[in-house]
């Protein structure tokens, strides 16, 4: 029986405490709401790159969960290991319909054209990948005052 007849798998979004990741979470939440599915917020602590610094992955996920649309059904999950690999593994295990990431996150890849994690996720993913470019961030910031949502034309 094909489960997709009944519903769409969760939208999973990687967060690392950066503002770009938070923006991706906002977009992912809006899309999850539009698709009538859950949002899974995932924070991966990579002991090798230590991208999270002193932050704890559980706190990062919780902060992101509080930042998104309160009507969103949110699952929180943390993992340890390579961020791109763990994120795609979680997506596979949870039958995610979409993986969302910011155009780049924290860490050494910040200055590059496209974050290395973002590029690797796209290479490993078994579902479509949603990326929120930096230009969108600027637009959303300027729209924040009037409370416009990123997605669609809904209230």
């Amino acid at each position: 029986m094909d489960r997709y007849e009944w519903g769409v798998g969760t939208v999973i979004c990687g967060v690392d405490g950066s503002s770009r990741a938070l923006l991706a979470a906002t977009a992912a939440a809006d899309l999850a709401n539009a698709l009538d599915t859950t949002l899974t917020l995932a924070c991966v602590d990579d002991p090798w790159t230590r991208d999270l610094g002193s932050a704890r992955s559980g706190d990062v996920v919780r902060a992101a969960a509080e930042a998104v649309d309160p009507l969103t059904r949110v699952d929180e999950v943390t993992a340890v290991g390579n961020a791109a690999r763990q994120l795609t593994r979680l997506a596979r295990e949870r039958d995610a319909s979409l993986i969302a990431v910011g155009s780049r996150g924290r860490g050494p890849a910040q200055g590059r054209a496209l974050g290395s994690i973002t590029a690797i996720v796209t290479g490993l993913a078994e579902c479509p990948v949603l990326i929120v470019p930096p230009r969108v961030e600027a637009r959303v910031a300027s729209n924040a005052a009037v409370g416009r949502r990123l997605w669609g034309t809904g209230p």
């Binding site: 997709y4 319909s97 054209a113 496209l114 290479g123 579902c127 990123l150």
Partner: protein, 175 residues
């Protein structure tokens, strides 16, 4: 939708049908990847009640469609080049025709730089999403992420959905 529009819509007791539907723009080039992307885009559009616009971007100059033809082998006239470009665009749309009948999505042909044109259309239509395959027919088709998708992710005007080759298309499996 501007704040004024919304207020006006509320004032006349408008239903959601009278609010402009969100739009999803999808780039197609006839490659298998772009077909996958188009099917994903249609599936997303269906689910969220959005309109789908398929865009095929022709190379900046007509002759560039002929990259695979040996230079100087046969002189090609401008009219023939235009003809080839037309066939190119028809081919790109024909490739998605089985999954996406004409009535389900608007089709547009543009000419220029693919990243620039797709961004411009997404901006113009105030698209909620821009959907592309992870790579198309470009010269580096072996790369994990094609230049068009990578560039759109870097400087696109709206959130970009990249559909990788391994995608099982959970969203589209229902079809």
């Amino acid at each position: 939708v501007s704040g004024a529009d919304r207020t006006r819509a509320e004032a006349v007791g408008a239903t959601s049908h009278q609010v402009p539907r969100p739009r999803i723009v999808c780039g197609v080039d006839g490659s298998r990847q772009s077909c996958r992307a188009a099917v994903t885009a249609l599936s997303l559009a269906d689910r969220v009640g959005a309109d789908l616009v398929l865009v095929h971007v022709l190379p900046p100059r007509p002759s560039m469609t002929l990259a695979s033809v040996p230079v100087g082998a046969h002189p090609v006239t401008a009219a023939q080049m235009r003809q080839l470009d037309r066939l190119d665009a028809e081919g790109a749309f024909a490739a998605v025709e089985p999954q996406i009948p004409s009535a389900r999505a608007e089709r547009r042909i543009e000419r220029g730089d693919a990243v620039e044109r797709l961004s411009a259309i997404a901006s113009e239509l105030r698209a909620s999403l821009l959907v592309v395959g992870s790579r198309g027919r470009g010269p580096l088709s072996g790369a994990v992420l094609g230049s068009v998708s990578a560039e759109l992710a870097r400087r696109g005007p709206c959130p970009v959905v990249i559909v990788p080759p391994g995608a099982t298309l959970g969203l589209a499996d229902q079809r």
